[in-house]
Protein backbone atom coordinates (compact mmCIF):
# COMPACT_ATOMS: atom_id res chain seq x y z
CA UNK A 1 0.00 0.00 0.00
CA UNK A 2 1.30 3.48 -0.88
CA UNK A 3 0.68 6.15 1.77
CA UNK A 4 1.42 9.87 1.48
CA UNK A 5 1.68 11.78 4.75
CA UNK A 6 1.69 15.57 4.69
CA UNK A 7 2.81 17.97 7.40
CA UNK A 8 2.90 15.45 10.21
CA UNK A 9 5.76 17.26 11.99
CA UNK A 10 7.31 15.32 14.83
CA UNK A 11 5.12 12.30 14.12
CA UNK A 12 6.66 11.86 10.66
CA UNK A 13 9.67 9.77 11.67
CA UNK A 14 7.66 7.37 13.82
CA UNK A 15 5.04 7.02 11.11
CA UNK A 16 7.61 6.31 8.40
CA UNK A 17 9.36 3.70 10.57
CA UNK A 18 6.05 2.11 11.49
CA UNK A 19 4.65 1.93 7.93
CA UNK A 20 7.93 0.65 6.48
CA UNK A 21 8.07 -2.01 9.20
CA UNK A 22 4.58 -3.16 8.23
CA UNK A 23 5.62 -3.47 4.58
CA UNK A 24 3.92 -0.35 3.26
CA UNK A 25 5.43 2.22 0.95
CA UNK A 26 5.32 5.66 2.51
CA UNK A 27 6.17 9.17 1.38
CA UNK A 28 6.42 12.38 3.42
CA UNK A 29 5.46 15.77 2.00
CA UNK A 30 6.49 18.57 4.33
CA UNK A 31 7.48 22.23 4.35
CA UNK A 32 10.04 21.66 7.10
CA UNK A 33 13.40 21.41 5.34
CA UNK A 34 15.28 19.99 8.35
CA UNK A 35 12.66 17.29 8.88
CA UNK A 36 12.77 16.27 5.21
CA UNK A 37 16.58 16.09 5.30
CA UNK A 38 16.50 14.00 8.49
CA UNK A 39 14.00 11.52 7.03
CA UNK A 40 15.97 11.28 3.80
CA UNK A 41 19.14 10.63 5.81
CA UNK A 42 17.47 7.95 7.98
CA UNK A 43 15.18 6.23 5.47
CA UNK A 44 16.31 7.25 1.97
CA UNK A 45 14.36 9.25 -0.59
CA UNK A 46 10.97 8.89 1.03
CA UNK A 47 10.43 12.58 1.75
CA UNK A 48 10.25 15.77 -0.24
CA UNK A 49 9.85 19.45 0.46
CA UNK A 50 6.47 20.66 -0.64
CA UNK A 51 3.13 22.28 0.08
CA UNK A 52 0.17 19.97 0.65
CA UNK A 53 -2.15 22.52 -0.94
CA UNK A 54 -0.21 22.60 -4.21
CA UNK A 55 -1.41 20.25 -6.95
CA UNK A 56 2.12 20.24 -8.40
CA UNK A 57 3.72 19.21 -5.10
CA UNK A 58 1.03 16.60 -4.41
CA UNK A 59 1.59 15.19 -7.90
CA UNK A 60 5.33 15.14 -7.29
CA UNK A 61 4.72 13.15 -4.10
CA UNK A 62 2.79 10.56 -6.12
CA UNK A 63 -0.62 11.17 -4.58
CA UNK A 64 -2.27 10.02 -7.81
CA UNK A 65 -1.27 6.42 -7.05
CA UNK A 66 -1.64 6.60 -3.25
CA UNK A 67 -4.19 4.46 -1.42
CA UNK A 68 -4.17 6.76 1.59
CA UNK A 69 -3.43 10.46 2.04
CA UNK A 70 -2.95 11.77 5.59
CA UNK A 71 -2.91 15.47 6.52
CA UNK A 72 -1.52 16.04 9.99
CA UNK A 73 -0.57 19.70 10.30
CA UNK A 74 -1.25 21.85 13.36
CA UNK A 75 -3.67 23.98 11.32
CA UNK A 76 -7.12 22.45 11.02
CA UNK A 77 -8.05 24.57 8.01
CA UNK A 78 -4.95 23.49 6.07
CA UNK A 79 -5.72 19.82 6.75
CA UNK A 80 -9.32 20.34 5.66
CA UNK A 81 -8.34 22.07 2.43
CA UNK A 82 -5.57 19.59 1.58
CA UNK A 83 -7.76 16.51 2.08
CA UNK A 84 -10.64 18.02 0.12
CA UNK A 85 -8.23 19.02 -2.65
CA UNK A 86 -6.74 15.51 -2.79
CA UNK A 87 -10.21 13.95 -2.80
CA UNK A 88 -11.33 16.17 -5.68
CA UNK A 89 -8.23 16.13 -7.90
CA UNK A 90 -6.77 12.69 -7.31
CA UNK A 91 -9.79 10.66 -6.20
CA UNK A 92 -7.59 9.04 -3.55
CA UNK A 93 -9.51 6.11 -2.00
CA UNK A 94 -8.93 7.16 1.60
CA UNK A 95 -8.19 10.64 2.93
CA UNK A 96 -7.39 11.05 6.62
CA UNK A 97 -7.29 14.36 8.46
CA UNK A 98 -6.25 15.23 11.97
CA UNK A 99 -7.82 18.26 13.63
CA UNK A 100 -7.39 19.94 17.00
CA UNK A 101 -10.27 22.28 17.62
CA UNK A 102 -13.54 20.67 18.71
CA UNK A 103 -15.38 23.67 17.28
CA UNK A 104 -14.42 22.35 13.84
CA UNK A 105 -16.01 18.91 14.35
CA UNK A 106 -19.14 19.62 12.34
CA UNK A 107 -17.21 20.97 9.35
CA UNK A 108 -14.91 17.95 9.32
CA UNK A 109 -17.82 15.53 9.73
CA UNK A 110 -19.55 17.00 6.68
CA UNK A 111 -16.36 17.58 4.66
CA UNK A 112 -16.33 14.38 2.61
CA UNK A 113 -12.98 13.40 4.15
CA UNK A 114 -13.02 9.64 4.78
CA UNK A 115 -11.53 9.57 8.26
CA UNK A 116 -11.35 12.54 10.63
CA UNK A 117 -9.49 12.26 13.91
CA UNK A 118 -9.81 14.81 16.67
CA UNK A 119 -6.47 15.00 18.44
CA UNK A 120 -8.05 16.60 21.52
CA UNK A 121 -10.40 13.64 21.96
CA UNK A 122 -7.45 11.27 21.41
CA UNK A 123 -5.50 13.02 24.13
CA UNK A 124 -8.54 12.94 26.41
CA UNK A 125 -8.99 9.21 25.87
CA UNK A 126 -5.29 8.55 26.47
CA UNK A 127 -5.13 10.72 29.55
CA UNK A 128 -8.39 9.32 30.91
CA UNK A 129 -7.02 5.82 30.61
CA UNK A 130 -3.91 6.93 32.50
CA UNK A 131 -5.60 8.82 35.30
CA UNK A 132 -8.29 6.20 35.79
CA UNK A 133 -10.57 7.31 38.60
CA UNK A 134 -9.37 10.88 39.15
CA UNK A 135 -12.58 12.94 39.00
CA UNK A 136 -11.18 16.12 37.35
CA UNK A 137 -8.23 16.99 35.20
CA UNK A 138 -7.30 19.95 33.07
CA UNK A 139 -6.66 18.91 29.48
CA UNK A 140 -5.47 22.16 27.99
CA UNK A 141 -5.46 25.93 28.32
CA UNK A 142 -6.94 27.64 25.30
CA UNK A 143 -5.11 30.42 23.45
CA UNK A 144 -5.95 33.74 25.09
CA UNK A 145 -5.51 32.35 28.58
CA UNK A 146 -9.02 32.89 29.91
CA UNK A 147 -10.47 29.44 29.24
CA UNK A 148 -9.44 25.84 29.60
CA UNK A 149 -10.80 22.43 28.70
CA UNK A 150 -11.28 20.02 31.59
CA UNK A 151 -12.49 16.45 31.94
CA UNK A 152 -14.64 15.50 34.93
CA UNK A 153 -15.74 11.98 35.76
CA UNK A 154 -19.06 11.73 37.61
CA UNK A 155 -18.33 10.05 40.93
CA UNK A 156 -20.39 7.19 42.38
CA UNK A 157 -22.28 9.27 44.95
CA UNK A 158 -22.43 12.54 43.03
CA UNK A 159 -25.54 14.68 43.37
CA UNK A 160 -25.32 15.21 39.61
CA UNK A 161 -26.44 11.62 38.92
CA UNK A 162 -29.85 11.48 37.20
CA UNK A 163 -29.77 15.22 36.54
CA UNK A 164 -29.93 16.75 33.09
CA UNK A 165 -27.36 19.32 31.94
CA UNK A 166 -29.68 22.37 32.31
CA UNK A 167 -30.28 21.38 35.96
CA UNK A 168 -26.61 21.46 36.88
CA UNK A 169 -26.22 25.24 37.35
CA UNK A 170 -22.68 25.30 36.01
CA UNK A 171 -20.89 28.66 36.31
CA UNK A 172 -21.65 31.25 33.65
CA UNK A 173 -19.31 30.97 30.68
CA UNK A 174 -18.79 27.24 31.06
CA UNK A 175 -20.00 24.92 28.34
CA UNK A 176 -20.27 21.15 28.12
CA UNK A 177 -18.51 20.00 24.94
CA UNK A 178 -18.99 16.25 25.16
CA UNK A 179 -20.52 13.60 27.39
CA UNK A 180 -19.21 10.06 27.07
CA UNK A 181 -20.84 7.20 28.95
CA UNK A 182 -18.76 4.56 30.68
CA UNK A 183 -19.04 2.26 27.65
CA UNK A 184 -17.66 5.02 25.39
CA UNK A 185 -20.99 6.08 23.86
CA UNK A 186 -20.95 9.78 22.96
CA UNK A 187 -24.26 11.38 23.97
CA UNK A 188 -25.59 13.51 21.13
CA UNK A 189 -28.61 14.87 23.00
CA UNK A 190 -26.63 16.51 25.77
CA UNK A 191 -29.53 18.68 26.96
CA UNK A 192 -31.88 15.75 27.45
CA UNK A 193 -29.40 13.16 28.73
CA UNK A 194 -29.59 12.11 32.38
CA UNK A 195 -26.11 11.81 33.88
CA UNK A 196 -24.89 8.53 35.29
CA UNK A 197 -22.02 7.59 37.55
CA UNK A 198 -18.69 7.28 35.73
CA UNK A 199 -19.82 9.43 32.79
CA UNK A 200 -16.91 11.45 31.43
CA UNK A 201 -17.79 15.12 30.85
CA UNK A 202 -15.56 17.38 28.74
CA UNK A 203 -16.12 21.02 29.61
CA UNK A 204 -14.99 24.39 28.35
CA UNK A 205 -14.34 26.25 31.59
CA UNK A 206 -13.56 29.86 32.37
CA UNK A 207 -10.16 30.12 34.04
CA UNK A 208 -10.14 29.50 37.80
CA UNK A 209 -13.64 28.00 37.86
CA UNK A 210 -12.43 24.44 37.18
CA UNK A 211 -12.59 23.40 40.84
CA UNK A 212 -16.10 24.84 41.22
CA UNK A 213 -17.27 22.80 38.23
CA UNK A 214 -15.63 19.70 39.66
CA UNK A 215 -17.48 20.25 42.93
CA UNK A 216 -20.85 20.55 41.18
CA UNK A 217 -20.29 17.31 39.28
CA UNK A 218 -18.76 15.23 42.05
CA UNK A 219 -20.02 16.44 45.45
CA UNK A 220 -22.19 14.32 47.67
CA UNK A 221 -24.23 16.10 50.30
Amino acid sequence: MYIVIAESGNLAQELVASFIASGDEVYILDTNEKLVEKIQSDFGMVATLGDMMSIDDLTEAGVSRASIFIAGSENDYNNLAACQLVKKHFETPKTVSLYNNLDNSQVFDKSGIDVVINTTVLKIERLSSIIGSHPMMKLMDLPGGDKSIIAVKITENSNAIDKRVPELALPSGSEIIMIASEDGTIQNDMEGYQLSARDEIIILSPKNLETGIETILTRYV
Binding site: N78, L80, A81, A82, L85, K88, D103, V107, K110
Partner: protein, 139 residues
Protein backbone atom coordinates in the same frame (compact mmCIF):
# COMPACT_ATOMS: atom_id res chain seq x y z
CA UNK B 1 -28.84 44.06 1.69
CA UNK B 2 -27.22 42.56 4.77
CA UNK B 3 -23.65 41.44 4.15
CA UNK B 4 -21.24 39.72 6.51
CA UNK B 5 -17.54 40.08 5.73
CA UNK B 6 -15.03 38.00 7.68
CA UNK B 7 -11.57 39.57 7.59
CA UNK B 8 -10.86 43.29 7.80
CA UNK B 9 -7.79 43.37 5.58
CA UNK B 10 -7.51 45.72 2.64
CA UNK B 11 -10.02 43.70 0.61
CA UNK B 12 -12.53 43.24 3.45
CA UNK B 13 -12.43 46.90 4.45
CA UNK B 14 -12.71 48.08 0.86
CA UNK B 15 -15.74 45.86 0.22
CA UNK B 16 -17.38 47.07 3.45
CA UNK B 17 -16.73 50.71 2.52
CA UNK B 18 -18.05 50.36 -1.03
CA UNK B 19 -21.13 48.42 0.09
CA UNK B 20 -22.03 50.95 2.79
CA UNK B 21 -21.62 53.81 0.31
CA UNK B 22 -24.14 52.02 -1.90
CA UNK B 23 -26.66 51.95 0.92
CA UNK B 24 -26.09 48.44 2.23
CA UNK B 25 -25.30 47.49 5.81
CA UNK B 26 -22.13 45.42 6.03
CA UNK B 27 -21.00 43.66 9.19
CA UNK B 28 -17.22 43.36 9.30
CA UNK B 29 -15.60 40.74 11.55
CA UNK B 30 -11.95 40.55 12.54
CA UNK B 31 -9.92 39.24 15.48
CA UNK B 32 -7.79 42.35 15.52
CA UNK B 33 -9.63 45.51 16.49
CA UNK B 34 -6.84 47.61 14.98
CA UNK B 35 -7.72 46.36 11.50
CA UNK B 36 -10.92 48.43 11.65
CA UNK B 37 -8.78 51.59 11.76
CA UNK B 38 -8.54 51.36 7.95
CA UNK B 39 -12.25 52.22 7.73
CA UNK B 40 -13.38 55.83 7.38
CA UNK B 41 -14.45 57.01 10.85
CA UNK B 42 -17.76 58.50 9.73
CA UNK B 43 -18.96 55.14 8.36
CA UNK B 44 -18.24 53.35 11.65
CA UNK B 45 -19.38 56.16 13.95
CA UNK B 46 -22.73 56.45 12.17
CA UNK B 47 -23.27 52.66 12.12
CA UNK B 48 -23.11 52.42 8.34
CA UNK B 49 -20.60 49.63 8.95
CA UNK B 50 -20.94 47.38 12.01
CA UNK B 51 -17.60 46.11 13.28
CA UNK B 52 -17.38 42.92 15.33
CA UNK B 53 -14.12 42.09 17.08
CA UNK B 54 -13.83 38.31 17.32
CA UNK B 55 -12.84 35.08 15.62
CA UNK B 56 -14.89 34.66 12.44
CA UNK B 57 -14.02 30.96 12.48
CA UNK B 58 -15.76 30.43 15.82
CA UNK B 59 -19.19 28.77 15.56
CA UNK B 60 -20.54 30.62 18.60
CA UNK B 61 -19.58 33.98 17.14
CA UNK B 62 -21.04 33.03 13.75
CA UNK B 63 -24.34 32.21 15.47
CA UNK B 64 -24.43 35.62 17.15
CA UNK B 65 -24.16 37.32 13.74
CA UNK B 66 -27.62 36.02 12.75
CA UNK B 67 -26.11 34.90 9.47
CA UNK B 68 -29.40 33.36 8.34
CA UNK B 69 -30.73 36.89 7.90
CA UNK B 70 -27.84 37.88 5.64
CA UNK B 71 -27.92 37.99 1.84
CA UNK B 72 -24.21 37.49 1.30
CA UNK B 73 -21.26 36.23 3.29
CA UNK B 74 -17.73 37.08 2.14
CA UNK B 75 -14.69 35.35 3.64
CA UNK B 76 -11.59 37.48 3.15
CA UNK B 77 -9.12 36.70 5.93
CA UNK B 78 -6.11 36.58 3.61
CA UNK B 79 -5.67 32.84 4.20
CA UNK B 80 -7.25 30.75 1.43
CA UNK B 81 -7.70 27.55 3.44
CA UNK B 82 -9.11 29.42 6.43
CA UNK B 83 -11.54 31.27 4.15
CA UNK B 84 -12.69 27.90 2.83
CA UNK B 85 -13.26 26.52 6.31
CA UNK B 86 -15.20 29.59 7.44
CA UNK B 87 -17.34 29.38 4.28
CA UNK B 88 -18.16 25.76 5.10
CA UNK B 89 -19.09 26.70 8.68
CA UNK B 90 -21.45 29.42 7.46
CA UNK B 91 -22.90 26.99 4.94
CA UNK B 92 -23.71 24.46 7.66
CA UNK B 93 -25.34 27.13 9.81
CA UNK B 94 -27.29 28.67 6.94
CA UNK B 95 -28.63 25.24 5.87
CA UNK B 96 -31.20 25.88 3.14
CA UNK B 97 -29.65 29.11 1.83
CA UNK B 98 -27.95 29.24 -1.53
CA UNK B 99 -24.26 28.55 -1.00
CA UNK B 100 -23.43 30.69 -4.07
CA UNK B 101 -24.18 33.63 -1.76
CA UNK B 102 -21.06 32.68 0.15
CA UNK B 103 -18.08 34.26 -1.59
CA UNK B 104 -14.58 33.01 -0.87
CA UNK B 105 -11.81 35.48 -1.67
CA UNK B 106 -8.63 33.62 -2.66
CA UNK B 107 -5.05 34.47 -3.46
CA UNK B 108 -4.12 31.21 -5.16
CA UNK B 109 -5.77 29.22 -7.91
CA UNK B 110 -5.69 25.62 -6.64
CA UNK B 111 -8.44 26.04 -4.10
CA UNK B 112 -10.74 28.09 -6.37
CA UNK B 113 -11.89 24.99 -8.28
CA UNK B 114 -12.38 23.12 -5.02
CA UNK B 115 -14.57 25.78 -3.45
CA UNK B 116 -16.57 26.25 -6.66
CA UNK B 117 -17.20 22.50 -6.67
CA UNK B 118 -18.45 22.77 -3.07
CA UNK B 119 -21.02 25.28 -4.28
CA UNK B 120 -19.40 28.54 -3.22
CA UNK B 121 -18.53 31.48 -5.35
CA UNK B 122 -14.72 31.65 -5.43
CA UNK B 123 -13.02 34.90 -6.34
CA UNK B 124 -9.34 34.60 -7.22
CA UNK B 125 -8.03 38.09 -6.55
CA UNK B 126 -4.57 37.39 -8.00
CA UNK B 127 -6.15 36.32 -11.29
CA UNK B 128 -8.46 39.37 -11.30
CA UNK B 129 -5.58 41.79 -10.66
CA UNK B 130 -3.48 40.11 -13.36
CA UNK B 131 -6.33 40.34 -15.87
CA UNK B 132 -6.86 43.98 -15.03
CA UNK B 133 -3.15 44.74 -15.39
CA UNK B 134 -3.02 43.00 -18.77
CA UNK B 135 -6.06 44.96 -19.95
CA UNK B 136 -4.53 48.21 -18.76
CA UNK B 137 -1.32 47.63 -20.67
CA UNK B 138 -3.29 46.13 -23.58
CA UNK B 139 -1.44 42.84 -23.91
Amino acid sequence: MKIIIVGAGLVGCQIAKQMSERGHTPILVDKDEKSFEKLPNHLVDNDFITTVQGDGNDSQLIKTLNANESDTVITATGNDALNGMIAQKFNILLKSKNSKNIKVILRGSYLADLYESLGFSAVNKTEKITQLALELIKI
